[in-house]
Amino acid sequence: MAMSNYQEMAIAKALNAGLRKAMQRDEKVLVFGEDVARLGGVFRVTEGLLDEFGDNRIFNSPIAESGIVGTAIGLAMRGYRSVAEIQFDGFVFPAFNQITTQLARLTYRSEGFQQMPVVIRIPVGGGIGAVEHHSESPEAYFAHTPGLRVVSPSNPNDAYWMIQQAIESPDPVIFLEPKRRYWQKGPVNLDTAPLPLHSARMLREGTDLTLIAHGPMVATALQAAELGAEEGISIEVIDLRSLSPVDYPTLLASVQKTSRVVIAQEAPNNVSLGSEIAARIAEQAYYYLEAPVIRVGGFDTPYPPAKLEEEYLPDADRILEAVDRVLAY
């Protein structure tokens, strides 16, 4: 059996490589957004693509997020597969109308006559010391919208494969990239995809408690599990990977084993994705739970100024505080 072809790369580079592969594979794949062409994107995720594919395949858009998504929809109607970039999470809201009333619904409205193979890439999350509107976690708005798929890779290997799988999906995919992890390196298996797009993955096995996280919070969850192990707590860490649909069979299998759950997210807890997952676990795994499901998230305030974000964002300590509470039951 041939050895798999591995390469060490950062998440941003893995996304770049994945985009490149997708564009090579299908000439209908277009990449556009603000500053994606010559500059290669403010995070360099689209670096080098212009040289390889030319300005008919990758081009800059005017600073008009609604226009970016709306024209992506028209291009989809004409048979193109657009990968549209929204430069920062806080700027997706002008496009919110086109995303929720149009992109999410055209297949339903047209009774299947019109497919919407559009990927909207958005860097999300905090921890980079940025000014306002550059550190949001808007996944709940999109997970709440029927017709959309929402995914978020946490590591380079998933980034490389999930961007390609998202582009191949006939459905609109909101692709959330953990911006503070863009430079985190890891091995990428260039030959085989690890999992289907909407599968969750158990990253660390444990017996005392299930810790669920996604995107930028996964690394923090793994840190918490490592520290917990030093205290004799065995924490099982699950990377959601797909936020809509959520892979409940994988989550529930873990809950059956450990009976205790903590969900960690950067987003404010109130009416969050974590809230939905907690409710579903309580409903479907009632007799397995030894304790209530606890969410660790941001406070219910707008994202604070950078000097305070360390205290705002859940870190390993805040996660372990929740773990202690859950174990006390």
Partner: protein
């Protein structure tokens, strides 16, 4: 009352007389090339769509439709422009373009089904090239621009072959021009030199807001700041609408970039059947525009061209038959199957949809009627 002082392309005056001003000569040439059959088709379809509209209003008042959106008064703008669109061009309507729909073979019952709540507009946009009605104002204009950008990427613009080159026409109303998406559309179309004609039906009323409150500058000039030239045409003159649309769609497909047409017309009826225009406008104004009816003036024109009386009678009879047929079909429309709630939410298989479909099925199987 009406911004009547701007330059406007008009070939057919309200009294039915035909004349071409020098600066609009090329538009006249388009009409010169039309045969009597084509002209009769214009008339027949305008009368048909009006009769359909009247029947639909009655059906709504009889509880058979939740809503009806009348296009009465706008027949010329829609039939004229609709026939000028190329065979393979794509059309992006808003929600009042029933006249354009019939020029492209969209079944009238499809539109009624939507208003009855059977579906959200289930005709095939690929087959008819007439896209689904858009309820969120202006949202469809961006889609039209994206489509036009796609045509350009496909290399179907400016090859010199008028038969195979493509253009897109995007319809919206005076009220929609206020939406941000429309401005963004003009911008994207201009910087991309997209092959698209923006066709504004200025029927002068957006529910109860008169056009004067929606714009400081006449709408045909809306695109100037973005780099999109424009022309005002008499929206109640089917020949002007036809000619203008023909010429500017062909220019777009030849690679001239986007263009904007403002068809000045009037919304004779209410915004929808839920609206009561007597609350906000004068009957005098409505009467003024009734005198400028598109169908009446065209009838005069045709008769002067020698079209016989029995043609008009035949059209009226056909209209009544159409109305009867529509009525019967509407009464017979079944409720959609319950599980269709779950169809086509996604193109690919989805576990939540599957689970909820199964749940509803099991729930309905368990439940009987009320005690």
């Amino acid at each position: 009352m009406t911004p009547a002082t701007e330059p406007m392309l008009q070939l057919l005056a309200p009294d039915g007389s035909y004349g071409v001003e020098k600066e609009y000569a090329r538009y006249g040439e388009v009409i010169d090339s039309l045969g009597e059959d084509q002209l009769k088709t214009f008339y027949r379809d305008m009368a048909r769509i009006r009769r359909f509209d009247q029947e639909a209003i009655a059906l709504q008042r009889q509880g058979q439709l939740g809503l009806w959106v009348p296009a009465i008064g706008q027949e010329a703008a829609q039939i004229g422009s609709g026939y000028a669109v190329g065979q393979n061009d794509h059309i992006f309507p808003s929600y009042r373009e029933h006249g354009v729909a019939i020029t492209h073979g969209v079944e009238l019952m499809s539109i009624l089904k939507m208003m009855r709540g059977v579906n959200h507009g289930g005709w095939n946009p690929e087959e008819t090239r007439f896209h689904l009605y858009a309820i969120v104002l202006g949202s469809q204009v961006l889609h039209a621009v994206g489509y036009a950008m796609g045509i350009k990427l496909d290399g179907k613009v400016g090859t010199g072959d008028l038969e195979s080159d493509l253009a897109v026409i995007s319809y919206f109303g005076d009220g929609a021009t206020a939406e941000g998406d429309v401005s963004e559309s003009l911008l994207f179309a201009a910087v991309n030199e997209a092959p698209i004609v923006f066709f504004i039906q200025n029927n002068q009323w957006a529910i109860s807001s008169n056009i004067a409150s929606q714009t400081k500058v006449p709408l045909y000039r809306r695109g100037e700041g973005f780099g999109v030239p424009g022309l005002r045409v008499d929206g109640n003159d089917v020949l002007a609408c036809y000619a203008a649309t023909k010429i500017h769609m062909d220019e777009a497909r030849e690679g001239s970039g986007p263009f904007l047409l403002e068809a000045l017309t009037y919304r004779i009826g209410a915004h929808t059947t839920s609206d009561d225009p007597t609350k906000y406008r004068d009957e005098e104004e409505v009467e003024y525009w009734r005198q400028r009816d598109p169908i009446a003036r065209f009838e005069v024109f045709l008769k002067r061209q020698g079209v016989e009386e029995d043609f008009f009678e035949e059209v009226a009879v056909a209209g009544d038959e159409l109305a009867k047929d529509i009525r019967e079909q509407t009464f017979a429309l079944p409720k959609p199957p319950l599980e269709s709630i779950f169809d086509n939410v996604y193109s690919d298989d989805h576990p939540e949809i599957n689970a909820q479909r199964a749940w509803l099925r099991a729930y309905e199987d368990q439940m009987g009627g009320h005690e």
